[in-house]
Amino acid sequence: MTVLSLQNVSKRFGDTEVLRGISLELNRHDVVCLIGASGSGKSTLLRCANLLERIDGGDIQLFGQSLLDPRIDEDLVRRNIGMVFQSFNLFPHLTVLQNVMLGPVRALKRPSDEVRDEAMALLTRIGLADRANEYPDRLSGGQQQRVAIVRSLAMQPALLLLDEVTSALDPTLVGEVLDLLRELAHDGTTMLLATHEMGFAREVATNVVYIDQGVVLEQGAPSAMFDNPQEEATKLFLSRARS
C-alpha cells in the first residue's frame, strides 16, 4: 500500500531551485534513506512532505489524496506524519513527559490519563521513564533526540520523517539514537530519513535515494547503491562519505 508518493516535485526559494522534479514512492513498512551532500535538498523535501513548505510544482499524495487539494486540512495531514529534527526542538518549558503528551492531548484531544500511560510506556521503552518529570535541558543530546522521536511516535503516525537526526550529536551519542531507529525499522515503521550515516542506511534501508542538486540522480536497494553505484557523481559522493 502506497503511503506517500511524490510526483515531479519542485520547490524554489527566490531564484534558487532547491528541488527540480523529484519523484519518490513509499509503501507501508518502507525505510527510505535520502543521501546526498548538504544543501542538495534533502531537508526541503522532508519539509514539503508534511506541508511545512509549499511546493511550486508537481504533486504530493498521502494515501492517494493530493495534499495540494485546497480542501485538505494541513493539521490533519501533520497528525498522520511524524517529524524529527536535527536540533531535537523539544519544548524547553515542558517536562519530558509533557513533551510526549502535548500532541495527543492538545491536537488529538485525547484524555490525558490514557495518553499519560502510553507516553510512560514509550519512555520506558527508551529507558527514560525515570527522567519523565525533568526538563529537556537536563538530558544529554542523545536522550533528547530519543525523546523527540518518541514524541512523534506518541501521535501514532502512519509515516515518520527524520531530518539528519544524528548530525547534531556527539559521536559517542549517535549509537543510542541509531539503535532506536533500527528497532523502529525492525517493527515495520514507515520512515523517510535524510542521513549522513551510510553504514546505518545500508543496514536498515529498503531503498536508498541519492539526491544531487535537487534531482534524484540514482536510487535502488542499498546493496546495489553502495556496492555498485552507476553514476560517477554517486561514486564520488560515496567514496568521500566513507573516508
Binding site: 493539521d75 490533519l76 497528525r79 519544548f91 491536537a107 535541558d137 512523534s152
Partner: protein, 294 residues
C-alpha cells in the same frame, strides 16, 4: 643559545600587585560595606554642611511637614497618602487593560494571514503614532479633546476616566512592541515542532510560543510598568487630585516642599517591591530549570 620561548627556567611571578589584591573578590563583603559607608557619609555631609543645607532640609525634609502632607488636615491641606491610592488603582486598572489589549495588538502585528492585512497596517500605524507622541500631549488631547467633541457618553466622563484612557492608549503601543519582541524571540524550530505535531496556529501560540515568550518578556514588561506607575502622576494636569497634585497643593499653601518628597517616597514604595518581585521570579525560573544540571 636558543631564544625559544619554551626554554624559560625561572618560574614566572603569578601574584597580582598588592593594590589589586586588596580589591579582589576575597574581600568583597568588606569592600562593599566600606564603599557604602563612604557613599552615604558623603551624601549626608553635603546635605548637612552645604551653605544652604539648613534651608534645604527645612524645605524638603521637615518631618512635621512631611507628616502633615501625608495625612492632610482640616485646614484644606490635601493628603498625599490618600492621593497615592488614586495612582495605585489607576495603575492597576491600566495594567490589566494594557496587558490584554497589547497582546491582541502584538498578535495582529505578527500574524501572517492575508485576511489580517488591513488590521496589520492599522496596528503598525497605531504603534508608530502612540510611541511617537509625548504622553503629556495624549493626556491633553484625550482629557480636554474628548469632552469638546460632544458625542454621547464619551464626552461626559470624569477626568480620571480620560486619564486612564490616555495611559492605556499609550502604553498599549509600548507593551505590544515588548510582546512582539518576545514572541519573535521563540526559535522557529519550536514552531515547526509544534505544527508538525498537528497543533493548529492558536494551540501553537498558547501551548508553545506564549509560555516561552513570557519568560523573555517579563523584565522589559516590568520596566514599562514602572514607567507607567510614575506616569500616573501626570494625570494631575487634568485636575485629578492624586499624590503629586496633593503634594503641590500642600506646597503652595505651606511654602514647604516636604510633601513632594513624601510623594517621591510613596512612588518608590510602589516601584521597588515590583522590581524585587520580578528579579525573584526570574531567579526562581532560572534555578528551577538549571537545578542539578549535569
Amino acid at each position: 643559545m636558543s631564544s625559544s620561548s619554551t626554554t624559560e627556567t625561572v618560574a614566572p611571578n603569578l601574584f597580582a600587585p598588592r593594590r589589586r589584591q586588596l580589591l579582589s573578590k576575597r574581600h568583597s563583603t568588606a569592600l562593599s560595606i566600606v564603599s557604602t559607608v563612604i557613599f552615604v557619609a558623603v551624601v549626608v555631609a553635603i546635605v548637612f554642611w552645604a551653605p544652604g543645607g539648613v534651608t534645604f532640609r527645612h524645605f524638603f525634609f521637615d518631618p512635621h511637614q512631611m507628616w502633615v502632607a501625608f495625612t492632610g488636615n482640616h485646614q484644606g491641606l490635601a493628603s498625599v497618602g490618600k492621593g497615592i491610592l488614586t495612582n495605585i488603582w489607576m495603575f492597576c486598572l491600566c495594567e490589566v487593560l494594557v496587558l490584554i489589549l497589547a497582546l491582541g495588538l502584538a498578535w495582529i502585528r505578527i500574524s501572517t494571514s492575508p485576511v489580517m492585512a488591513p488590521l496589520r497596517v492599522l496596528a503598525t500605524i497605531y504603534t508608530d503614532v502612540f510611541r511617537g507622541i509625548p504622553i503629556l500631549l495624549v493626556f491633553i488631547i484625550v482629557g480636554f479633546g474628548f469632552s469638546e467633541l460632544n458625542i454621547g457618553w464619551i464626552s461626559h466622563q470624569t477626568p480620571t476616566f480620560y486619564g486612564c484612557t490616555a495611559i492605556t492608549i499609550t502604553y498599549t503601543a509600548y507593551v505590544a512592541e515588548v510582546y512582539r519582541a518576545g514572541l519573535n524571540s521563540v526559535p522557529q524550530g519550536q514552531i515547526l515542532a509544534a505544527r508538525s505535531l498537528g497543533l493548529g496556529q492558536a494551540a501553537t501560540m498558547r501551548r508553545v510560543i506564549l509560555p516561552q515568550a513570557v519568560r523573555t518578556v517579563i523584565p522589559p514588561l516590568l520596566n514599562d510598568f514602572i514607567s507607567m506607575q510614575k506616569d500616573t502622576a501626570l494625570v494631575s494636569i487634568l485636575g485629578i487630585v492624586e499624590a503629586v497634585q496633593s503634594a503641590q497643593i500642600d506646597a503652595s499653601q505651606n511654602f514647604n516642599d516636604s510633601g513632594l518628597v513624601v510623594a517621591a517616597l510613596l512612588f518608590l514604595a510602589m516601584t521597588i517591591p515590583l522590581t524585587r518581585f520580578t528579579d525573584h521570579l526570574i531567579a526562581k525560573d532560572r534555578t528551577r530549570r538549571l537545578a542539578g544540571a549535569q
